[in-house]
């Protein structure tokens, strides 16, 4: 058995060619274009691909961050630095504002998360800023409902996705035509797997927030998942906070991002761990565990 690092990586070139092609179609077919930027590795890869697609010109996209307020501090610094370095506009909209003006109500209880509320803030931002396309880092290997997502995914004037009535997508012809008020979500790295993303980051020497590498932080265990602890999180009586060496496999809202116990300090070590792992990266996401069709239900009403 070969190790993950020895696997022939020629297919990454084809995945990159495809993603760049999709980015350029977005540039040509839409007006107000944003990349949904979470500070996670997938959105960092998107920004890297956009940089390559339009060089030596600046990418024709702004970055849009929907901030739940429950962040890993480092992600925000990383986000600001990246936007400055690329000289692109950074737009931030806050879930807290949506809560304050009554657009959404805060979830209560032990598993409270602002993950679902993000959809409202995102749709409001799309309307406010006249965004007609939002590029996301969604991948079809992440989750069952995502497996049927198109590259160019149409959203009606309510921002809703109709999975049973998607436009057929053939060859490399993408139909981004729409009526006023409607928008598209576009997923250039649809065909990438988690391992592809990591190997691409390694090959391209893409800088990541250090949260993706082993670091020491307070954590606690809930069911089978280790969660990063933050002061606003409620603990159950049997849960206790302790220090551990961990790394993040995904980075999102701190309340629903599971961490792995790990001492991997380099990309090579992280990739070896991922190649050997037996649990999917979303297995650590609390938001997906709520019900079997949790992702599908959230996507229909405007989730990422």
């Amino acid at each position: 058995m070969k190790s993950a690092l020895q696997i022939n990586n020629e297919h990454l070139k084809e995945l990159e060619d495809e993603a760049i092609y999709v980015m350029r179609e977005v540039a040509a077919q839409f007006e107000k274009k944003v990349i949904l930027f979470s500070g996670g590795k997938d959105s960092i890869v998107l920004v890297h691909l956009a940089k390559k697609a339009f060089w030596p010109a600046r990418m024709p996209f702004s970055l849009l961050h929907i901030d739940t307020g429950h962040n890993f501090e480092e992600t925000l610094t990383f986000r600001d630095d990246l936007a400055r370095e690329l000289n692109v506009e950074l737009l931030v909209r806050y879930v807290q504002d949506s809560i304050d003006n009554g657009r959404v109500s805060e979830e209560k209880g032990i598993n409270a998360s602002r993950n679902k509320a993000q959809s409202v803030t995102l749709l409001d931002a799309i309307e406010e800023l006249n965004i007609d396309v939002a590029i996301g880092g969604g991948r079809r290997d992440e989750e069952k409902a995502r497996a049927k997502e198109r590259f160019f995914s149409h959203r009606n004037e309510f921002g809703h996705w109709d999975p049973k009535n998607q436009r057929p997508e053939l060859w490399n012809i993408f139909n981004g035509r729409k009526n006023v008020g409607e928008h598209f979500r576009v997923f250039p790295i649809s065909n990438w797997t988690e391992l592809d993303v990591w190997q691409y980051i390694l090959n391209e020497k893409i800088k990541l927030p250090s949260l993706y590498y082993s670091h020491r932080r307070p954590v606690f265990r809930r069911n089978d998942v280790y969660l990063a602890w933050a002061p606003f999180m409620q603990l159950k009586p049997n849960e206790e906070v302790f220090e551990a060496d961990v790394r993040c496999r995904t980075i999102g809202d701190i309340t629903c991002t599971g961490v792995s116990l790990s001492v991997a300090n380099t990309l090579e070590e992280v990739i070896s761990e991922i190649a050997a792992t037996r649990v999917t990266e979303r297995g650590g996401r609390y938001d997906d565990r709520r019900s079997e069709a949790a992702m599908e239900d959230r996507k229909k009403v405007g989730y990422f």
């Binding site: 760049i20 350029r24 179609e25 030596p56 069952k144 057929p168 012809i173 592809d196 999917t280």
Partner: protein, 424 residues
């Protein structure tokens, strides 16, 4: 045909799977993922729980691919689902397409980007109407390689004669449709025979297992021998001090290859120039081949915009306004002669009028039906259109990218049909 040297072969294979309802298509994919150890523990836990809740006796591997809620409830696949797995030899992208009649459009969609079609046949039933339909669609979409998996061999006592009888019937079909490369494998997806591991129940079979076939099948020649084509997606104008006069043309090579110094002709203007540089990001490259996303610069300042086609070595593409094509109709609203639509081929968009339905294919009998007044969803027909401006194309048989187009309803913006340009 075969190439065992993974380093020289394409390391990404896209394949589509098709079969009738209950042929075990989802089970085959589940088995492939399970036996190649591509299923994670949490996914497996999920399937165990779901199988129990749905009252299935054993762990149902087909639940791995049946994604949307409606599908899980009905136990059938209703939309194309994409699946990924990798072995040390190759990475695979599977377009899992539904088998029943009303979703022919999904099979066409999945087939449009596939290198290989996998068609499942129930060994008890043999070649049925849907087998003919799926094989025909694979040949129509010009998939050069087909793997026929004769499944449920356990239900026919692993009988070699049964397999040979089905195989010979399939070979007649393959000859009739002119398919270049076909393979026949007796399997049991449920028990894993000849999927990843060689069957101990069918020692009479000396061919490759299914996994071995898809790991080694050589698809390189499918990309060769086409003329050089570069549809322009967007013009790169940095307008910065450093790149003051820079003008680049961004696109993905749709046929043949381009090199710096090559003479090119731009369509529709027919202006000529030479390639000055080809870049991928900051890196200058010596050659761009089919499938590569690159940026070209030219020796001369000529007017080029999105929708133009840069052509290089080889034959010039065809051009014209009267186009004949095979069309697969996707929408509930039917097509009638005289209707107007938008068409998009490559990055170029124009309008068209439907002039005539020349014939409709009966894809069960492969007969041609004439005097057809309209086309309904999932119909496949030969149609003549007239475009408002000339389009530039190759016959679909020569180039799947420059020979294909979609038809869009201007009122609803929906994609109504897929067309494959035919010049016969």
């Amino acid at each position: 045909m075969m190439n065992n040297n993974g380093n020289n072969n394409k390391s990404l294979l896209r394949f589509t799977t098709a079969g009738s309802v209950d042929d075990g298509k989802s089970t085959l994919i589940g088995r492939l993922l399970y036996d190649s150890k591509s299923i994670f523990e949490d996914q497996m836990d999920h399937i165990r729980e779901s199988s129990k809740r749905l009252g299935r006796e054993e762990v149902d591997l087909s639940l791995l691919t049946d994604g949307l809620r409606a599908e899980r409830e009905q136990g059938i696949t209703i939309d194309v689902a994409y699946r990924y797995f990798a072995t040390p030899a190759r990475k695979f992208i599977i377009a899992d397409t539904p088998g029943h009649i009303q979703y022919t459009r999904n099979m066409v969609t999945g087939a449009s980007t596939a290198n290989l079609a996998v068609i499942l046949i129930d060994a008890r039933k043999g070649v049925v109407e849907q087998t003919v339909r799926h094989t025909y669609i694979s040949s129509l979409l010009r998939i050069n390689h087909i793997a026929f998996c004769i499944n449920k061999m356990d239900m026919v006592g692993f009988d070699e004669n049964r397999f040979l009888a089905i195989r010979s019937e399939l070979e007649q079909l393959v000859n009739k449709l002119g398919i270049e490369d076909s393979h026949y494998i007796p399997i049991s997806a449920k028990f894993g025979d000849n999927v990843v591991d060689r069957s101990t129940n069918m020692t009479w079979y000396n061919g490759m297992t299914f996994l071995r076939l898809i790991e080694t099948i050589d698809i390189r020649q499918d990309y060769l021998n086409s003329s050089a084509r570069f549809p322009v997606q967007t013009v790169v104008l940095p307008q910065s001090a450093e790149y003051h006069d820079y003008r680049g043309y961004a696109g993905r090579v749709a046929g043949g290859s381009f090199k710096p110094g090559d003479e090119i002709t731009v369509l529709p203007s027919l202006l000529k120039s030479k390639i000055k540089s080809i870049t991928v990001f900051e890196k200058k490259i010596d050659e761009a081949t089919t499938g590569e996303s690159v940026t070209l610069t030219l020796e001369d300042q000529i007017d080029i915009s999105r929708g133009d086609l840069i052509t290089g070595a080889g034959e010039m593409p065809l051009s014209g306004q009267d186009i004949r094509m095979m069309l697969c109709w996707f929408n509930e609203k039917s097509l009638r002669p005289g209707a107007r639509y938008l068409i998009r081929n490559n990055t170029h968009e124009t309008s068209c009028i439907i002039r005539a339905i020349n014939y409709r294919m009966n894809i069960e009998t492969l007969g041609k039906e004439t005097s057809v007044e309209s086309l309904n969803m999932n119909d496949i027909a030969n149609v003549s259109i007239k475009t408002s401006r000339p389009i530039f194309y190759d016959p679909y048989k020569k180039n799947r990218i420059t020979g294909s187009l979609i038809i869009i309803d201007e009122a609803t913006n929906e994609t109504m049909a897929a067309g494959m340009i035919d010049t016969e």
